[in-house]
Symmetry: D2
Subunit: 296 residues, 4 copies
């Protein structure tokens, strides 16, 4: 042997699940893709091919369906926790379990009396996410950390967005703009300092807050708007401890109509998917009193 | 030369356009991808490399942006017509122009007072489509044919769907089902016998009708439901002459929990993308009086 | 009823199959995706939900695996024929079967003594295709038509490609080019006037011929090169009756370095995926003697 | 302000570049997508919208094309270094630059006399990668770390792969297998303890070694084979310090032919893309003498 294993992990990815809960007057529909990843005492699987400590990935898949049958599945956060606990409880050689769930969202179709009880329409590419990491620890229970999130929340504003005053050198051909289109696909991940009373309501509040700030912010840059979105979440949702945001800048490039003898009155654009600006930030809630002492 | 050209066509595909119409209190947003295709007297471009009759595809792209600046763009149908006419008017060697537009749909974000005037959210993968074919003809004006449509309208119902009574042979392992999930991504194309007064309102009515029928139909097969959707459109939208529907059956396969010692009460499914049932039909409105005379 | 069914068809799409043929010293590997489509007397499935004539799409899928076990699968053309025949033989209500197969290609990994007997590498996105249409007819046997092809054969040449002399108007900003990059993903479909002795060898010859012509042609346009590719196939492969080619022009756009104070010596380009030129032609082999009589 | 910025970064992603080097008898072709990411003193861009320290992402894109014109581009590793250095040299507020390059690979088409001088064919989805991280440091020069790699190297073996002896519980329905298909898309990342004399030759040697081990290993699990691949690289390529491998298990599932009255002689499989086993390992070369002292 010429090497040591400095890290290893394995699991099953993209286990897709549909669960229907058939209430008397109304069906609930949940769809998701589940990723399970185990870390622990698996070195001999790699070095000698001894699989006696190996949980195969096929039963991991079966476990998703089996536990989903018993679990209420009111939210993906609690299902991720159930899955983590299962693998730690059963397998002493497992030190750490990571379960990531991405939920496909469905909206109810309208019915005369409001919402249809069992017919749905896809909400599109946007997903709700939850990632639970659970580890064996010295204490009574396992250590857990939970990250909740949103993927591909695609939004666009046609004004109230500017970008100027940046550095200019010989590689800078971009004109300054006082009024540009701002389009992005919000990716958000946040953690809670205390578990919210209702995961679903808190998720809805985080989402609504981000959309409201995006819509109303007078943006001087993607960076400034995403900072404002994070600040808005801290103000509206006291349970949130920190938030990570990634806002790819999905450029709408003004088309140069001058060679065609026409004028572009900030109305004709080319939507592009590549290249894109890739802007990221992580914000942490300031401890109570920190700002005050900072001023003194 | 050992061959003759039996068909040729060329054009520009995936010309992506964003147009913002900046009203005083409210912005309108249109996004689309445009395909342009020309047919005509282009044989020498192929056989000798003589490009003197060749409209290059790059100016086709420019034309989309140039004409979009002047066009109201209230709907994609009229923009497709404008583009077709442009290429026929300018180029005697062009016999036929096909313009297909696929519109990306945006919803307004909410605002205190209803809808936000300039902030939008993507409506997802669903697209509105229009295809105009315009040909030079002996008469005064060109011959036109228009097909309108919808792509990727993803819907699902958790009940009121059955499939039984089909042929059984040694290759048939599928159990009969009195209650299965029905999930699909509706693709629709329709033509008008007379041009509707308002393309947008008529499109909305076709769409709403298909959703209503899908939600309420007691389905005995994908085939039967799509037939009902077409019938529903004919009843609700008198302008529609014929309609083509493709409903891929995006199977939700019941997961067999028995080997795990559990029972699946029609609640746990595997969503799959492949293989899929691919079901198509084209319906033509029956002429007035046809049914009556048919009975005599 | 307000409508008549003017067309209907249904089937199973994307049935993915791997077949391993385990020779004593060498394994053969075939992977493909199969689409099956039936047309016939299925109106009542649509209009009344009577499934008694309906071959469900799930047994279609099973049939692919079942017949693959018995079939040699030396080429996809003969497997497509076997599948077509199966559905017509079994089902009187079926009038027409279309089977389209797209083969994923694998290359053998090298071994000391040449090729490895059972280890393979993916040949990439390129696929070999076969489409068989078989119809019930008045005669003794069914009527068949076969189309063979290639998808996504991605090639590029850095010179020997020009484009000039095209029409210029106020929408034309594209400069003429005597030396541009030519990149495309060849899509080809051809038919045979008589069945070749060996489908695999003939496919290889068509493919090699198209690549040779592409590499060596002095191109004045995409159109001219694809015409030459078709002519080359007619000359090299006497069995081919006609050929359809689609060569999307995957533009490499020269990057304008002048604003950066640099010069682009035809070396720096932006590869783009959209928009793209979409160029198509269908060539038919000229009957023997046609050219001669044409001159008289 | 209710929050602090605990991390931020931004840059331009998917800057696609083609460079042609026009030698007298032979052209060289390089295609790649470049991601640039900056970290540093950018807090005010987020908190106040003051862009005076902000390098916009559009000039980052221009820089890729501008520097590519001057750079030899014999390999992506040295181009990544040039890009990193450029942004640190120019911008005091930048603390860290990450440049990741993914190269699209092209093979030369054959010519009579061997390889064609300027016509190429895509090598498929496989990519060569390089990631350079360069940071400002106290010393004379910047601190650099380089990771080289391969993405999507899709391989398959039809035998010499087994999986048995794993844990069985009530969720375990997977049968043991002494002879299964092993298909994967290798993702590899490695670092060098000393810079190789020729990045291209060393990359070729790492790649060839992994393919050889994959082809010839008697596999008891994906884990065991990837460990052997890493060990093989350490033995063959002395410059490699550590290697990370991810081998998604792209299952070929034996199709159950028994309900059809047929037998599957380990020859008929369903290729699947989801779910997949996701197997990862990082190996570090053992210091010289470590194994010896380990035995004492």
């Amino acid at each position: 042997m010429s090497s040591t294993i400095s890290a290893n992990s394995y699991g099953k990815s993209l286990v897709r699940l549909t669960k229907v809960t058939r209430g008397k007057d109304r069906h609930e529909l949940k769809e998701m893709a589940v990723d399970i990843c185990l870390e622990g005492d698996f070195e001999e699987v790699y070095t000698t091919g001894d699989n006696s400590k190996c949980v195969a990935t096929d039963p991991m898949k079966n476990t998703v369906y089996g536990l989903a049958a018993k679990h209420e599945l009111a939210n993906i956060e609690s299902f991720a926790e159930t899955l983590c606990r299962h693998f730690l409880d059963r397998n002493k050689q497992v030190r750490k379990v990571t379960v990531e769930i991405k939920e496909d969202l469905w909206l109810r179709l309208p019915d005369k009396a409001g919402e249809h009880p069992h017919a749905f329409m896809s909400a599109g590419k946007e997903k709700r996410t939850a990632e639970m990491i659970m580890e064996r620890s010295a204490g009574k229970d396992y250590t857990t950390s939970l990250s909740c999130g949103i993927d591909e929340m695609v939004v666009l504003k046609t004004t109230d967005s500017a970008f100027f005053g940046f550095i200019r050198d010989e590689f800078t051909t971009l004109p300054e703009s006082k009024d540009r289109i701002f389009a992005t696909a919000v990716e958000a991940r946040w953690t809670y300092k205390k578990q919210p009373a209702d995961f679903n309501k808190t998720y809805e509040l985080v989402r609504k807050t981000m959309l409201d700030v995006f819509a109303h912010h007078k943006s001087l840059s993607v960076q400034q708007t995403m900072y404002a979105m994070g600040e808005g979440v801290f103000e509206a949702v006291p349970e949130v401890a920190d938030i990570h945001l990634r806002l790819p800048n999905q450029h709408r490039i003004p088309f140069n109509l001058e060679p065609l003898g026409l004028k572009n009155e900030n109305c004709i654009f080319v939507p592009t998917t590549e290249p894109y600006g890739n802007i990221k930030v992580t914000l942490t809630r300031q401890p109570v009193g920190a700002a005050v002492s900072g001023r003194s």
